[in-house]
């Protein structure tokens, strides 16, 4: 305890010493000004918000005394604090330590910021005290003392006319006496501050106590875990060490492509024991043995990795970073006419340039094997209302997989892509020549025109390969059948797919058979455009543009004739275009034979095209008809397309597909019911759809590349958030509400980052929000603290008590205080602070520490 009173007396002598006097009056002037302004006006005058505090503001002035420059800071709150809220996060250390609300801090502007010399600090504090009492303010004032690492302060507060509070804080940085590691010892320390001798401890002093314990989850040590479990099973096998390291995200959808750093480094749990009153030191020991489950409230805070807010390039590796590289490749794709040009062009550029490096052949081999290995993927296409607008290929399709592999192939430069593509097409050519089924292509009878053209072409090729295979099969088996068929009567029914219910042929009273028909010829998007082109060229001349459709109709008629040898044109119309048969039957349908009716007027007119085609169509079942689709010709056309594809066209489609597939893969992540994440994901799709839409057919690459790079930025934000969401979700799977709330907190913290430009913004604000843990969620949260293995526990010497699953707190904070009844006669002056209920807090001690670091702050109220 420093001795303050004699100093005060010395001040009387200083009244003529102009330097101090001026200094005091200067402080006084500033304080008067600040007092007069009050918080509202100070905030208007430019008081700054204190970083990471919502409610706390600070205004600062510099003062000179001789050669020394001091800075005086006034910290104040926007809105008043309630009582007993010191454990809240929005509390400044000074407020917490000394139990004050607003305060004045004065310190020299030197490198260390601390008044090293003891008399000087006392003088300084005295000056402030005089100035404050002159202007009738009861702001507490603090001056730092000693070495900054000690975080030592002295302070004073004038409480009305009678009381004065004095403050003092200091720290023991090492070798904390064992006594002070335990609550009992700390309790005694507090008592010793107001009980004169330790021998006459009053038997019962009512000490108010509250405590905050902070626990930190152990580092997730996946490697160790596997080692531990397997070591117990078989000590012999040393190979265990060579096992690939188990990653936290091994079962996340992106793990097939990359492994992300776990954004959640751990959790901090804060357990708070609200105010209790103790009378005996022994009771403290009981508290120390209490379980953390007895605490009044729990708060959880995720320790989120710095990489979440670090925007510097290369810091985050994920789909977003690779997509960025792909966009770069797209930018340079217009430099050459053919993909081969990129591959050949090695001589001029030196190989060390990273933009042209191509992974070794062994890597290409591995990628090709993976792409073309048989086996179906069971990826369910997530049908999304934007997926059609994006014009990509499904993530699990051959081209989708190609794009994903390309992203991670070397550094995804244009040369590497060209090399990979050429090999890819060579492999496809091989499949075609050998009539091998294309892998990763779902066989369907239609072509999805909303996918990218390469995917459409591959769908076409897959179908052509199937048709080619069955053609070959028929050729080898079919010859004998044909001869016997030719000999058979012309009237035999051929190619029937079954009887049409309740339909009889008009002339012969036979059942009508529906024939097998040919599938409508498949067309890719460019073929449709070709037809459109042709239709336009030939104008509206009927018959020329409709050739293909006539072929289909004719094929249907032939098949119908073959299935119903005795049918007439009217029968065909009744089956094929029932609207053109005007029935004159009674309503009940089966009234007599033959059914009365006639062709519609348009069908029966002279020169009707349908009847002409009917008359020309030979009775032929589908198996004997010429195929509407020539698989060999169409297949060759597809390969020609793939082999002569322009680099820019390839890259355009790759960009679309890669964005879509990456998003689809990320979208498969389970992150519980985090609504914010879901909304963001939907927004990503919408943004992608609108950006990628302009990619089709627009030639100005540089314009687009800018948009695409911004899209990568958006993608990165969402990818990071999604990984975070997945991590939080799986760690707090049993406390979904809590997980959601924690994610929402971080999301809101992160939100301002999004929607910014390419420039990364510096993120100074730290994420500090804690979430209150509900009673029913405590079990789930305590599971974050697995009991330490035998291996881990012997490393530590436990010394603080209040263990949580065997973990001791990383920090313990305690507030002791005693209150004394104010006897009426003695304290007549109204004291503005701490005097409600006629009680006044006389001693307050804040202790913060671990087993080898102790910081103690004491405030003592006394009357002079």
């Amino acid at each position: 305890m420093f001795d303050f009173c004699p100093q005060l007396e010395r001040f009387d002598d200083f009244t003529i010493a102009s330097s101090w006097e001026r200094f005091i009056s200067e402080i006084e002037a500033i304080c008067r000004q600040w007092l007069a302004d009050g918080p509202k006006i100070l905030m208007q005058k430019g008081a700054e918000s204190v970083p990471s505090f919502e409610n706390l503001y600070m205004i600062k002035r510099e003062l000179k005394r001789g050669k020394r420059v001091y800075s005086m800071e006034y910290h104040f709150m926007k809105s008043a604090k309630g009582k007993n809220t010191y454990w809240e996060d929005d509390t400044h250390t000074m407020q917490l330590s000394f139990g004050v609300d607003e305060f004045l801090m004065i310190a020299p502007l030197s490198a260390s910021g601390v008044v090293l010399d003891d008399p000087e600090s006392t003088k300084l504090l005295s000056s402030v005290a005089i100035a404050l009492s002159n202007c009738g303010s009861n702001w507490p004032a603090f001056v730092p003392v000693h070495d900054p690492s000690r975080k030592a302060y002295i302070g004073i507060q004038n409480l009305g006319t009678v009381f004065t509070r004095r403050f003092e804080a200091d720290r023991i940085g090492s070798q904390v006496p064992i006594r002070l590691m335990h609550l009992e010892g700390l309790h005694e320390l507090f008592l010793s501050k107001f009980v004169l001798s330790s021998t006459d401890f009053p038997a019962r002093v009512k000490v108010h106590f509250s405590m905050k314990l902070t626990y930190r989850t152990p580092e997730y040590d996946y490697d160790n875990e596997t080692l531990d479990s397997e070591a117990t099973e078989s000590l012999v096998e040393n190979e265990v060490v060579n096992h690939p390291k188990k990653q936290w995200d091994d079962d996340c959808p992106w793990a097939e492509w990359y492994s992300a750093e776990d954004p959640v480094k751990g959790f901090e749990l804060t357990a708070i024991w609200g105010e209790k009153t103790f009378e005996e030191t022994l009771e403290m020991a009981e508290v120390e043995n209490a379980s953390s489950f007895d605490a009044d409230s729990w708060f959880l805070y995720p320790v989120v990795s710095q990489y979440m807010v670090d925007d510097s390039i290369g810091k985050f590796v994920g789909f977003a970073s690779q997509l960025h590289l792909l966009v770069n490749a797209y930018e340079s794709s217009a430099e050459a006419q053919f993909l081969e040009d990129f591959v050949a062009d090695t001589s001029g550029q030196d190989n060390s340039k990273s933009t042209t490096t191509v992974p070794p052949p062994s890597v290409i081999d591995r990628v090709m094997k993976d792409l073309f290995k048989a086996g179906n993927s069971n990826f369910m296409e997530s049908e999304n209302k934007y997926s059609r607008a994006m014009r990509g290929a499904p993530a699990d399709s051959l081209f989708g997989q190609f794009c994903l592999h390309a992203l991670w192939f070397g550094n995804c430069n244009i040369r590497a892509i060209a090399v990979l593509w050429i090999d890819f097409v060579r492999e496809i050519r091989w499949c075609w020549e050998e009539s091998e089924r294309l892998p990763r292509m779902r066989i369907s009878s239609s072509i999805d025109l909303s996918s990218c053209l390469i995917h459409q072409k591959l769908q076409m090729l897959a179908i052509c390969i199937e048709r080619k295979k069955s053609l070959n099969r028929e050729k080898s088996v079919g010859h004998k059948d044909e001869t016997s068929n030719a000999a058979a009567a012309n009237k035999t029914r051929k190619g029937s797919a079954g009887v049409v219910p309740k339909m009889m042929l008009l002339n012969t009273f036979q059942e009508m058979h529906a024939p097998y028909t040919q599938d409508a010829p498949l067309m890719t998007e460019d073929m449709h455009e070709e037809r459109l082109h042709a239709a336009e060229a030939f104008g509206n001349a009927i018959g020329l543009s409709g050739q293909l459709e006539r072929d289909i109709l004719s094929s249907d008629m032939s098949a119908f004739k073959a299935a119903n040898p005795d049918a007439v044109f009217e029968d065909f119309i009744r089956w094929h275009s029932p609207g053109d048969w005007v029935s004159e039957d009674n309503a009940d349908g089966n009234s007599g034979w033959p059914p009365k009716g006639k062709l519609s007027q348009r069908m029966s007119e002279h020169g009707n095209v349908w009847r002409k085609i009917w008359n020309d169509a030979p009775p032929l079942p589908v198996s004997e008809q010429k195929s509407l689709l020539d698989p060999v010709r169409e297949g060759e056309k597809v390969l020609h397309y793939l082999e002569t594809l322009r680099p820019q066209q390839l890259l355009e489609q790759m960009v679309c597909t890669a964005f879509k597939s990456s998003a689809d893969i990320l979208n498969k992540t389970t992150y519980g019911a985090f609504k914010l994440m879901k909304t963001k994901m939907d927004q990503l799709y919408a943004t992608m759809a609108s950006t990628l839409k302009s990619l089709q057919g627009k030639s100005d690459i540089s314009d687009l590349a800018g948009d695409l790079k911004r899209l990568c930025q958006v993608f990165e934000h969402i990818e990071k958030l999604l990984i975070l969401a997945a991590s939080i979700h799986r760690k707090l799977i049993d406390a979904p509400r809590l997980a959601q709330a924690i994610f929402a907190d971080y999301f809101n913290y992160y939100l301002p980052k999004m929607g910014t430009t390419l420039e990364s913004i510096c993120y100074e604000k730290e994420f500090t929000t804690k979430q209150k843990v509900g009673m029913h969620e405590r079990d789930a949260v305590s599971n974050l603290f697995p009991p330490p293995t035998a291996n881990q526990s012997w490393r530590k010497v436990l010394s603080m008590g209040n263990l949580l699953n065997g973990h001791e707190p990383t920090q313990r904070e305690i507030i002791f205080s005693v209150q004394e009844r104010v006897s009426n006669g003695h304290y007549s002056s109204p004291t503005p602070l701490y005097a409600d209920n006629e009680q006044i807090q006389t001693h307050r001690m804040y202790i913060c520490g671990t087993s080898n670091d102790l910081w103690v702050a004491l405030s003592v109220t006394s009357w002079d």
Binding site: D526, H533, A534, N540, G546, R550, R602
Partner: protein, 213 residues
């Protein structure tokens, strides 16, 4: 199809190209509507085989427009074939015959679903058209029912007659004006024209000569 070689540096002869599509049951009069609109004539036409196609240049809302109107066959057999024509259409006209009730009910049972399934333009304008109002005596679907359906499905509605010419012009005009009012569709129609074969094409004769295959 690269016809750029034949394209001379000539001003485009239109501001926008719109692709419109006519759908609906067989025999409701889609082709007749189209014939009335493009050639202002009416005759009993053979049923459409698969798809048919007509082009008309119009001036609507102060813009020169080229309308490419695809007329599809209503027969079920052609449905897989016609489905690919929904792609990129800015306007879809659903036609029914006011004298045949099933052609009206099939719109919601079949055709509206086809649109959802195959249309690639989210904002594409849909129009409901009841044809053959000249046969007022045989009417089986009331105007009110038509309005109800249009409201429910969010589309334009008009009753017309290809035979008597009533409301045919208005029907296409209304549809086109609505498309002109929809920015996202316009973006398609103009940016698309850059690579669209229509824009690169020269007047008829030239185009026919240069067309390949």
């Amino acid at each position: 199809m690269d016809s750029s070689s034949s394209s001379l540096s000539q001003q485009p002869e239109f501001d926008y190209l719109f692709k419109l599509l006519l759908i609906g049951d067989s025999g409701v009069g889609k082709s007749s509507l189209l014939l009335r609109f493009t050639a202002d004539s009416f005759e009993d036409l053979s049923p459409t085989i698969g798809v048919d196609f007509k082009v008309k240049m119009v001036n609507i809302g102060g813009k020169k427009l080229k309308l490419a109107i695809w007329d599809t066959a209503g027969q079920e057999r052609f449905r897989t074939l016609t489905s690919s024509y929904y792609r990129g259409a800015q306007g879809i006209v659903m036609v029914y015959d006011v004298t045949r009730r099933e052609t009206f009910t099939n719109l919601s049972d079949i055709w509206a679903k086809e649109i959802d399934l195959y249309s690639t333009n989210q904002d594409c304008i849909k129009m409901l058209v009841g044809n053959k109002v000249d046969k007022e005596s045989e009417r089986a679907v009331t105007k009110k029912e038509g309005i109800e359906f249009a409201r429910e499905y969010g589309c334009l509605f008009l009753e017309c007659s290809a035979k008597t010419k009533v409301n045919v012009e208005q029907c296409f005009e209304e549809l086109v004006l609505k498309i002109l009012d929809t920015p996202s569709l316009l973006a398609d129609a103009s940016s698309g024209t850059k690579k669209n074969i229509f824009k690169q094409k020269q007047p008829e004769a030239d185009g026919a000569a240069s067309s390949c295959c």
